[in-house]
């Protein structure tokens, strides 16, 4: 019996010695991409989960147009297009050699099927609104698609380049979730559920061949494991790296490159404007003055984030720095609260969704608001409950979340949005903006919108959610910025 124990220990020791991990010696035709979340399935037309697009966009599936690393609209499955003068008719010409992974030709009928499916009554497309302006889709010949709109839509080409608008074949549309059949330069090799998705280069792709022969997406949710996977060389590149406390370590290490990108994610302390006492603008302003953004960004994000004073990303030309309107001034916050009739403060609930930026910022903000007398009880919730009760049900006091949709300040004009914010002044501005084509006037209007929401202190404006990529120094071609949720690896190679 004693011998058995020794044998087991010896076997364990052997295992330890025999399987050292470390991918530093890996060949340079493959790439391992780290991701925090695993996609539930691989059909970008049937779900909002960002992880679906992060695996499939541009790699497996292609839309008519494509969004490039700079956020510009470039040709995708359509090699060119024309727009009629009234902005109502779009004529797309498809690439002649486009084929699906199963060998079938991708022609105009597939495009018509895909667009009609996305806007039809049975549609389960998460962004059905993108297709709302489409009136008819015609296919005069196999390479030509004519889309007629019922009203002009300035963002139509941008929306047609999103993952939700990728082109799929009728025969495989229902099975794409498990067996994605697209037209992209990579195809699915295997999916080890819970761990990784592996793509291989599609030898029959009609466009330029990617440099990589094999791309592996590995799903690592645990921060410590993310760091370890990079250090051990198991992962080559980690876009949207969320373990901010480890960034210093990677910045100092010459084996790694850290790309700081711009993001569209305004991180907000969302305030229920309809609920007492938050319906009083003095209370909302007090909250703004009670938050020390510098400490918040340092404590929750380890310094990796830019402060914002309104709902607008600092990297855009229309941005105005309004952080001064809600500068950290606890005495002023207390005075405002007293003026509003809350000399002794009040109690409220802060509901936090799962991401670590939300959980950490929430804890710090609770401590900061406590200093001015606002006593917060924290409730950590999962997304399902958050969406149902907070977002859809609008049953909340405060919550904390990043709004990652690009150019989305217009949500403040939505009457039924969960902020419960109503402002005739903002609505009038938004209305004028939607009718304005003059670029200079548009800039002015967008800046005015930023000012209105900042002056009304609709929400606590915290910081722009950082987009950081950590990768081995030899990797080139990863997108530093995130104009949309995607890991387009078609242009990635090794130095």
């Amino acid at each position: 019996m004693g011998g058995m124990g020794k044998a087991a220990v010896a076997a364990a020791a052997l295992l330890l010695a025999a399987w050292p991990v470390g991918g530093w010696a890996q060949g340079h035709s493959g790439l391992v991409v780290g991701m925090q979340l695993e996609p539930p399935h691989l059909d970008p037309t049937a779900g909002a989960a960002g992880a679906i697009d992060e695996v499939t966009y541009a790699n497996l599936f292609e839309p008519l147009t494509r969004i490039d690393a700079a956020g510009a609209v470039v040709p995708g499955l359509a090699e060119r297009w024309t727009v009629s003068d009234d902005g109502l008719t779009y004529t797309f010409t498809l690439r002649p050699g486009a084929r699906f992974h199963d060998g079938s030709v991708c022609d105009s009928a597939d495009v018509k099927f895909s667009l009609d499916r996305a806007r039809g009554p049975q549609s389960v497309n998460a962004q059905k609104a993108y297709f709302a302006a489409i009136d008819t889709v015609e296919t005069p010949d196999p390479r030509t698609v004519v889309v007629r709109l019922s009203r002009p839509d300035g963002l139509f080409l941008f929306h047609m380049g999103q993952g939700d608008a990728v082109i799929v074949a009728q025969e495989t549309a229902d099975t794409n979730k498990q067996k994605p059949i697209g037209t992209g330069p990579f195809k699915l090799d295997r999916w080890a559920a819970g761990d990784r998705v592996e793509l291989v280069r599609n030898p029959d792709y009609d466009g330029p061949k990617p440099a990589l022969e094999r791309v592996t997406f590995r799903f690592i949710s645990d921060p410590a494991a993310q760091v370890a996977a990079l250090l051990s060389g198991d992962v080559d590149t980690f876009p949207q790296f969320g373990t901010y406390e480890a960034l210093d370590q990677f910045r100092k290490d010459p084996r790694f490159a850290v790309l700081d990108g711009t993001s569209e994610g305004e991180t907000l302390l969302v305030i229920n404007n309809a609920r007492k006492p938050f319906d009083d603008v003095r209370v909302r302003r007090a909250i703004g003055h009670a938050i020390d953004r510098t400490t918040l960004i340092d404590g929750a994000m380890f310094g990796t984030a830019k402060p914002i004073g309104s709902h607008f990303p600092p990297h855009r030309p229309e941005y105005v720095d309004l952080t001064g309107l809600s500068a950290y001034a606890p005495a002023k916050a207390r005075a405002l609260l007293a003026e509003a009739g809350y000399k002794d403060g009040f109690d409220a609930v802060l509901r936090l969704p799962p991401p670590i930026y939300a959980r950490r910022s929430g804890e710090l903000i609770a401590a900061m608001l406590a200093e001015v007398g606002i006593r917060l009880r924290i409730e950590n919730v999962e997304w399902a409950a958050w969406l149902e009760r907070t977002f859809k049900g609008r049953d909340f006091d405060l919550t904390l979340v990043a709004h990652t949709e690009p150019l989305d300040i217009g949500i403040y004009a939505r009457p039924d949005y969960y902020f419960n914010y109503r402002s005739d002044r903002f609505n009038a501005t938004e209305d004028e903006l939607s009718r304005t084509l003059d670029p200079a006037r548009r800039v002015a209007l967008l800046q005015q919108e930023q000012r209105i929401v900042a002056e009304d202190a609709v929400n606590g404006f915290l910081f722009q959610l950082p987009v950081v990529t950590v990768q081995k120094a030899g990797v080139t071609g990863m997108w530093p910025n995130r104009p949309l949720q995607a890991n387009d690896v078609t242009g990635v190679s090794w130095k």
């Binding site: 998460a126 410590a224 370890a228 969406l387």
Partner: protein, 315 residues
């Protein structure tokens, strides 16, 4: 006997079904619309309705449960609406992580715990006995997920010998797969081994006091022979009972350790499925856990019949 077994099986099937019913009722009441979760913040009412119809969620709750129960009789566990795959294959895939993990942990615990227990009993009162008993006490007091964390710190972060988490899949080869399982298995095994040490030591000491063992010793049979022929076979009965019980606990209780080591096992599937309001998956996993516990306790009973060294009574 057959009557007894039949009754036991039926009773168990009913309670497992009741467990699934309880899960179903709770998840039906819980806030959180799976269709909204899938389609996200920009979903429109008509797409939500279409998706709910596709998922069968537009049917009344009672009808959905009856339908699922009917499927069970045909061996159909339903389809996961998150992954769009049959629950049976999804669960089988995760079981291929959890089951080897639990078995590995149990094997380690038995390989360490039983010999140590016997050894300590044979040297009762000595320093070795004291140390083994100390391990027995301390081992049960230490949370297994804490051990997992410390092991990751030492072997993955500091030494870089083993992966810090994740599971490459058995397709990647037995070596890498076992390398991913070894740390969590050790973490799970430590408390189990500690329990086994204490129980084995106690069982062996009890048996050593039995008359027939004393007789054998008095007759001049050697210590080792007495241990092997008389003491161990008897001590094996409580040990197998405990091992059986522990196995059930292990499979059901790996949730936390799977989370520490980010292993795609049953426990993580269960927690994720609840988060995604994927009722059929939760029901499937609960049923499976129930069946596993039953199967193991039946196996332990059968083992006892074989192992019991006392003369069998005529039935």
């Amino acid at each position: 006997m057959i009557h007894y077994l039949g009754r036991r099986l039926l009773g168990f099937a009913v309670s497992a079904w009741v467990a699934a019913l309880a899960v179903f009722v709770v998840l039906d009441v819980v806030p959180g619309d799976p269709a909204l979760l899938i389609l996200g913040t920009e979903a429109q009412p008509d797409t939500l309705a279409a998706l709910r119809a596709q998922m069968g969620l537009d049917r009344p709750a009672a009808e959905r449960f009856v339908r699922w129960s009917g499927g069970l009789l045909r061996g159909d566990f339903g389809t996961s609406h998150t992954y769009n795959r049959p629950v049976a294959s999804l669960v089988a895939e995760r079981l291929a992580v959890t089951l080897p993990l639990a078995l590995l942990a149990l094997a380690l615990a038995v390989a360490v715990g039983v010999p140590l227990g016997v050894w300590a009993a044979a040297r009762r009162g000595g320093i070795a006995d004291g140390m083994v008993r100390g391990f027995g006490r301390l081992g049960v007091a230490v949370p297994n997920f804490w051990i997992a964390m410390l092991l990751i710190w030492v072997f993955s972060v500091a030494l870089g010998w083993l992966p810090a988490g994740g599971f490459p899949g058995w397709q990647a080869g037995t070596g890498p797969a076992l390398a991913a399982l070894i740390l969590p298995a050790v973490a799970l095994a430590v408390p189990e081994a500690a329990i086994l040490v204490r129980l084995t030591r106690a069982a062996v000491l009890d048996t050593l006091r039995e008359d027939y063992v004393r007789t054998a010793t008095a007759k001049g049979v050697g210590r080792r022979v007495v241990l092997r022929r008389h003491v161990l076979p008897n001590a094996l009965i409580p040990i197998t009972t405990l091992v059986g019980l522990q196995f059930g606990f292990l499979v059901a209780g790996v949730v936390v350790v799977e989370n520490v080591c980010t292993l795609p096992g049953l426990g993580r599937l269960l927690t994720q499925a609840i988060g995604q309001r994927d009722v059929t998956v939760v029901q499937g996993v609960v049923l499976l856990l129930a069946v596993l516990v039953m199967a193991v306790s039946a196996l332990v009973d059968a083992l006892h019949a074989v192992l019991d060294p006392r003369p069998r009574r005529a039935a």
